[in-house]
C-alpha cells in the first residue's frame, strides 16, 4: 500500500529552484534513502513534506489525505514525523518528558481536568508514562528516562529524537542524518535498530544520510539528488555503479 505519494513537488527561493519535479511513492514499511552532495535539497524536501516551507507546486498525499494546506503541527498529527539534522531536543526537560510532549495529542484531558486532578488526568498520565517507557526501551534508553535531555551524550540525544518522533505515532518517519556525529560502533548499532523500528511499528522511513555503509545496507531504494533534481533512483547496487551518481559526488574524470 502506498502511504506517501509525492507528485511533481517543487519550491523556488527567489530565483533559485531549490527542489523541482520531485516524485516519490513510498510503500508502507519501506526504507528509502535520500542522498546527494551538500546543498542538493535533501533537507528542503523534509521541510516541504512537513509544511515548514510552502511548496510552489506539486502535491503531497498521505494515504488519501492531502497534507498540503495543513500547518506543521497538523501534518505531524496526521502522521509525518521527523528528526532534525542539528539536534532539537527540549534540553532542559527530562528524557521522558521529551517523549511525553510528543504523546500530547494521544492524551485526552482538558486544562480544567488538569487543574482539579480528575481521574482521567491520572489515568492518561499513567498510560503516557507507560507508553513513553516502552518507546524508550525500543532504543535502549529506558534507564535514562529521568535524566535531563541536554545532559545526554551525543549519540543518545540522536536516539531520543527518534523516540520522540515515534511517539507521535507516525505513518512515515523522516530521519535527517541520524548517524551524523555518531562513532562507527554507534552507527553499526543504528542499523538493526532502524529495521526493528520499521518491523515493530510498520512505519515507512525516509532517510537522509551521508554514511554510505548505513545507507547501502539498510535502504531498499535510494534516490540521488543534485541541484534539486533527482538524478538517479534504484537499489543500492544500481546506485553504486551509476556513473551519473559518481560524477555528482566526485566530479568528472579528466580527459574523458
Amino acid at each position: 500500500m502506498t502511504v506517501l505519494d509525492i507528485h511533481n513537488l517543487g519550491i523556488n527561493f527567489g530565483g533559485l529552484q531549490a527542489v523541482d519535479e520531485f516524485n516519490l511513492a513510498v510503500e508502507s514499511g519501506e526504507i528509502v534513502g535520500l542522498i546527494g552532495p551538500n546543498g542538493a535539497g535533501k533537507t528542503t524536501i523534509f521541510n516541504l513534506l512537513t509544511n515548514v516551507y510552502k511548496p510552489s507546486r506539486g502535491s503531497i498525499r498521505l494515504t488519501d489525505e492531502d497534507t498540503l494546506g495543513k500547518s506543521t503541527h497538523a501534518v505531524a498529527q496526521s502522521g509525518i514525523a521527523r528528526t532534525f539534522q542539528n539536534i532539537r531536543l527540549f534540553k532542559d526537560m527530562t528524557v521522558i518528558d521529551n517523549v511525553k510532549v510528543a504523546l500530547h495529542n494521544g492524551m485526552r484531558y482538558t486544562i480544567a481536568e488538569a487543574f482539579f486532578r480528575m481521574p482521567r488526568y491520572w489515568r492518561e498520565e499513567r498510560k503516557a508514562r507507560k507508553t513513553a517507557l516502552e518507546l524508550l526501551d525500543v532504543l535502549g534508553m529506558r534507564d535514562m528516562a529521568d535524566h535531563t535531555a541536554g545532559s545526554l551524550p551525543y549519540g543518545a540525544q540522536r536516539r531520543l529524537e527518534i523516540v520522540r518522533a515515534l511517539a507521535t505515532n507516525p505513518k512515515v518517519l523522516l530521519l535527517d542524518e541520524p548517524a551524523a556525529g555518531m562513532n562507527p560502533s554507534e552507527t553499526a548499532e543504528l542499523l538493526p535498530t532502524l529495521k526493528d523500528i520499521r518491523d515493530r511499528f510498520g512505519v515507512a522511513i525516509i532517510l537522509i544520510e551521508h554514511d554510505m555503509s548505513l545507507v547501502m545496507n539498510i535502504c531498499e531504494r535510494i534516490l540521488v539528488l543534485n541541484y534539486g533534481l533527482i538524478i538517479a533512483e534504484g537499489t543500492p547496487e544500481e546506485i553504486k555503479n551509476n556513473p551519473v551518481v559518481i560524477e555528482a559526488y566526485l566530479g568528472q574524470q579528466r580527459g574523458e
Binding site: 512537513t50 515548514v52 500547518s71 506543521t72 503541527h73 497538523a74 505531524a76 498529527q77 514525523a81 521527523r82 532534525f84 532539537r88 531536543l89 527540549f90 534540553k91 532542559d92 526537560m93 518528558d97 511525553k100 510532549v101 510528543a102 504523546l103 500530547h104 495529542n105 492524551m107 484531558y109 486544562i111 488538569a114 487543574f115 486532578r117 488526568y121 491520572w122 492518561e124 498520565e125 499513567r126 503516557a128 508514562r129 534507564d143 529521568d146 520522540r164 518522533a165 511517539a167 507521535t168
Partner: protein, 341 residues
C-alpha cells in the same frame, strides 16, 4: 511528578500522591489560620497587615508573569495592563452590587480574572506572532492603550480615579488567592498542557514538529497569565483608590524585575523575590531618598552574581522537602541502613 517513584531513590514517608496533596493543603491551611489569628488578635498593626496584602498580590503578579516569561519563554511587558483591567472590572462590580462581602468579593475577583483572560486572548492573538524585544514592545503598547482608555472613560472615574471601593482585601483573602494562583499554575505545568508550554520555550520548531499547536498554547498560556494578573488587580482594587497612573510602564517593569530576580521558571523564586522586593522599600524608609539606590544595588548585585535569578529554575515541593528532612533524621538514627529500604 505525579507521585511516580524514581528508581533507586530511598523510600519516602509521603510516597503516595494523595498524602502529598493532603500535606500541602494542610500546611497551607495552617499558615493561613496563623496569619488570620495574628491579624484578628491585633498582634500585627494595620500597617503590617496592609503590607501582607500587598505582598499577596505582588506574589500573584510575579507568579502569573512567570507563566508567560519563565515557562512559556516569551517576554511580555504589559502585565500592569491586565492588572488594571482586572482591578477596574472587580471594583466596578463590588461598587454596583450590594451583596454581603463574603459573597460579592470572590465573585468580583473571579470576574476580574475572567475579563483579564479575555483581554489576554484578544491581545495575545496578534502580539504573540512576534517574539523577544518585539513582543515586549507591542505588549507595552497595548498596556499603555488600556491605561489611556481608562484615563478617558466616564465610568472608570477617569484621571481622578475610582473611589469608594469597599476595603474587602484581608490577609485571609489574599492568602486564599495566592494559594489558588500557585496551585493552578503548578498543576498546569505538571500536565500535558504544561509540557506543551515548556516545549515551546525549549524549542518552538521541534514542538511544532511534535504535533503541538504552538499558537494555541502560546495564546492560552498568555491569557491564563493575564487572568491571574486580573485576580491580583482585583485584590489591589479593594485596598485603595484606583488611579490609572498606577498601572503605567513602571508597574509592569517592577513585576518583571520580581520574576527575573527570582528566577525565570521558578515559582518559589517568584514568591521569595516578590516578598523581598515588597518589604525592602518599606524597610529602607529610614534611608529616605537613598532607598531606591539600595533597591537598585540589590538588583545589580543579584544579576552579576546569580544571573539566572535567586532560584534559577529550581522549584520546591513541600512534600519532598519534608521527606528529605525525615530521611536525614532516619539516616542519623539508624545509620546508613535506615535509608536503604
Amino acid at each position: 511528578m505525579g507521585g511516580v517513584k524514581k528508581i533507586g531513590e530511598p523510600k519516602r514517608l509521603f510516597s503516595s500522591t494523595w498524602s502529598r496533596y493532603l500535606l500541602n493543603v494542610l500546611s497551607a491551611a495552617l499558615l493561613c489560620l496563623a496569619l488570620v489569628y495574628l491579624s484578628v488578635s491585633r498582634a500585627i498593626t494595620p500597617y503590617t497587615s496592609s503590607l501582607i496584602v500587598q505582598i499577596g498580590y505582588n506574589i500573584i503578579l510575579a507568579v502569573s508573569l512567570n507563566l508567560a516569561a519563565g515557562f512559556l519563554g516569551q517576554l511580555p511587558l504589559g502585565h500592569a495592563g491586565f492588572m488594571s483591567v482586572g482591578a477596574y472590572a472587580a471594583a466596578l462590580f463590588t461598587k454596583s452590587m450590594d451583596l454581603p462581602a463574603m459573597l460579592e468579593f470572590p465573585i468580583a475577583i473571579a470576574l476580574g480574572g475572567v475579563v483579564a483572560f479575555l483581554f489576554g486572548i484578544v491581545i495575545g492573538l496578534p502580539a504573540l506572532r512576534l517574539r523577544g524585544d518585539y513582543l515586549a514592545i507591542i505588549t507595552l503598547g497595548f498596556a499603555e492603550i488600556i491605561r489611556v482608555i481608562i484615563n478617558n472613560l466616564e465610568f472608570t472615574g477617569g484621571a481622578i480615579g475610582l473611589r469608594g471601593i469597599p476595603r474587602h482585601s484581608t490577609i485571609a483573602w489574599s492568602f486564599v488567592w495566592v494559594f489558588v494562583t500557585i496551585y493552578a499554575i503548578s498543576t498546569l505545568i505538571r500536565s500535558r498542557h504544561g509540557r506543551a508550554i515548556l516545549s515551546i520555550r525549549e524549542d518552538e520548531i521541534a514542538a511544532e514538529a511534535s504535533g503541538i499547536s504552538t499558537t494555541y498554547y502560546k495564546v492560552i498560556a498568555f491569557a491564563i497569565s493575564a487572568a491571574f494578573a486580573g485576580v491580583a488587580g482585583g485584590l489591589y482594587a479593594h485596598t485603595t483608590i484606583l488611579l490609572p497612573s498606577n498601572f503605567g510602564f513602571m508597574k509592569s517593569a517592577e513585576i518583571l524585575v520580581m520574576v527575573v530576580l527570582g528566577g525565570l521558571g521558578s515559582i518559589l523564586g517568584s514568591v521569595i523575590s516578590a516578598t523581598v522586593l515588597t518589604i525592602l522599600p518599606e524597610l529602607l524608609r529610614g534611608f529616605k531618598e537613598y532607598r531606591m539606590i539600595v533597591y537598585a544595588l540589590v538588583l545589580i548585585l543579584v544579576m552579576i552574581f546569580k544571573p539566572s535569578g535567586l532560584c534559577g529554575r529550581y522549584d520546591f515541593s513541600l512534600g519532598s522537602g519534608i521527606d528529605r528532612v525525615f530521611a536525614a533524621i532516619r539516616a542519623k538514627i539508624l545509620g546508613k541502613g535506615g535509608n536503604a529500604k
